[in-house]
């Protein structure tokens, strides 16, 4: 039975060389996503003693844009890799040794984690959350499991990877893949069976099979074209050059109030009334002094202009012009210079209090912004005042500010 399944699955392109060509891109992509993901994770949950670069100002825009764009590209690549090695699922006997059992267990975890990571990651960017678990913590844990089992997988397959790494040693002059010899990989042609199985096998094999070179090129062309297509039609939510062909991304560049997308509206934050209250004050709490500044007080202070992006963990980003008061000037008023600050919003829910690390608080481009793109802040962008700082995720650019406090 399994012989017949494997015979039916036979294709000239299901070959170790195909697995290597797609697999090395896939491995590189997962590493890029892991690195950019860790950066984003620790920006939001810094370990004690961690400090982050505040320049270039678009650093997070680039790293998180890459995270989501590469993660999207990994979907067709992962499916193509699984297509290539799918016949190995029907190997008989399924395991030959304890080592083989552990290897298959590692691969099972790798495949499961990779599928769930990409599926939930993409759905998350569309703000669709159909799973019964915490996204962020699960995404983080699965990422470690993926790079871990990937390292094990590469370690186990290293001789096969080395054998099929180079094109010159893999492909015949006519464009077909060289036959796989003993010890050069698992995807070897199915030996002819005898009896009834053999009869059925010959029937399956009689069906026409495309020439080997055509088959190999079709698989690579399909994988490449699908990868290019999903990237080209979605990356425009962060890459200006691709914005004109953006057709499937959740966001559009510069689309939203005052030319900037919004994640949480004033209505969602429950702040419509408080935000428009003329009695609003920004409270500053330093180690020795406190102060409460009205909007007029803030406008009377020296104003700084900064061109800074809003870059969301979901991968979209848009550059904007901000105007407001430097956080370090405000810190000066209450003797809180060179200190980590607790930033409080009067919105309810997650991120209503965030930590502004010392290096960001000190940066001359970190502002309590009062204006966006030449207008008074829209209430959905944080009126009366919001935080904006370079090279940080959008969730930490706290809107509807209540206070800045020394911890």
């Amino acid at each position: 039975m399994l012989v017949l399944v494997r015979s039916a699955l036979a294709s000239p392109a299901r070959h170790p060389r195909t697995a290597v060509v797609i697999g090395r891109l896939l491995g590189l992509g997962f590493l890029v996503c892991f690195g950019t993901g860790l950066f984003s994770h620790y920006l939001q949950n810094p370990l004690p003693g961690m400090a982050f670069p505040t320049r270039p100002a678009s650093l997070y825009r680039v790293t998180q844009g890459v995270h989501v764009v590469v993660g999207t590209a990994l979907i067709p690549l992962l499916l193509a890799k699984l297509w290539t090695v799918y016949p190995l699922l029907f190997r008989w006997p399924p395991v030959r040794s304890v080592g083989g059992l552990l290897e298959r267990a590692a691969i099972a975890l790798l495949v499961a984690a990779a599928l769930v990571e990409l599926a939930t990651g993409v759905a998350n960017t569309y703000q669709w959350y159909p799973w019964p678990f915490r996204f962020r913590e699960t995404h983080f844990a699965l990422a470690w499991a993926i790079v871990g089992t990937l390292a094990i997988h590469i370690g186990v397959k290293l001789p096969v990877i080395a054998r099929w790494w180079r094109r010159s040693r893999s492909i015949a002059p006519d464009g077909a893949l060289l036959p796989v010899a003993e010890g050069e990989g698992d995807l070897r042609p199915e030996p002819a069976a005898s009896g009834l199985t053999g009869l059925l096998q010959r029937r399956i094999d009689r069906a026409a099979v495309p020439p080997a070179a055509v088959s190999r090129r079709a698989v690579l062309a399909a994988t490449g074209a699908a990868t290019v297509a999903v990237v080209a039609l979605t990356a425009g939510e962060t890459l200006p050059a691709l914005a004109p062909v953006n057709a499937f991304a959740p966001r559009r560049l510069r689309y939203g109030p005052q030319g900037l997308p919004v994640n949480r509206t004033a209505a969602e934050g429950g702040v419509q009334r408080t935000a428009l209250d003329p009695a609003w004050r920004l409270e500053l709490r330093g180690p020795e002094r406190t102060a409460a500044l009205s909007l007029a007080d803030l406008r009377a202070m020296p104003q700084t202009e900064a061109g800074l992006p809003i870059a969301c963990v979901e991968g979209w980003s848009t550059q904007a012009r901000w105007r407001g008061v430097r956080v370090r000037d405000l810190a000066d008023l209450v003797g809180a210079r060179d200190r980590e600050l607790l930033v409080r919003s009067f919105a309810r829910g997650a991120y209503s209090a965030t930590v502004l690390q010392r290096e960001f608080a000190e940066d001359p481009l970190t502002l309590v912004a009062l204006e966006l793109n030449g207008e008074v802040l829209h209430v959905d962008h944080g009126y009366p005042a919001r935080l904006i700082s370079p090279a940080r995720p959008g969730v930490l650019q706290t809107k509807w500010l209540r206070s800045l406090e020394v911890r």
Binding site: S11, I75, A119, G148, V230
Partner: protein, 155 residues
């Protein structure tokens, strides 16, 4: 990849050491994954995570891959009349369309459930997907006809 160009199977000491190091690193990183999972995800959510992990494998291995196999066999049967170049063009088209469908699906579903605000889910994803399939269909038809004409001219 030190032994990659010698032509012999890569089984030297260097390769053995590299394999051991990779597997050891892999075990440590997977262990970190287990620790952060236990630390970060509440116990009552573990069955849900396991269900999703197992479900993803089953969905791929028992539903998606067999459907792809079926499609491939049907296409190959039609291939005799079409030329193999034509079959390859159709295959590429189906894969590209399939990938775009996977990307568009969460957008379509999330839109049905309602966007949080007007700046999220900004496109009519269902319409865009239909247009993409139409464009893919037209381009593929042109390519298949062109391949057929070229073959006919060669006789």
């Amino acid at each position: 990849m030190s032994t990659g160009s010698t032509g012999a199977p890569a089984t030297g000491t260097g390769v053995r050491a590299a394999r051991a190091v990779l597997i050891a690193i892999g075990v440590v990183l997977t262990g970190v994954g287990a620790v952060v999972f236990v630390a970060g995800v509440p116990v009552r959510q573990w069955p849900g995570v396991l269900l999703w992990l197992a479900g993803a494998v089953v969905l791929h291995d028992a539903v998606f891959a067999p459907l792809v196999l079926l499609g491939t066999r049907l296409l190959r049967r039609a291939g005799g009349r079409l030329s193999w170049g034509g079959v390859a063009a159709v295959q590429v088209a189906l894969v590209v369309g399939g990938a775009l469908t996977l990307i568009a699906f969460p957008g379509i579903r999330s839109q049905q459930l309602g966007a949080r605000n007007p700046s999220v889910l900004v496109f009519p994803y269902g319409l865009h997907l239909a247009l993409a399939w139409a464009a893919i269909g037209i381009v593929t038809a042109v390519v298949v006809v062109a391949i057929g004409l070229r073959r006919a001219r060669r006789g």
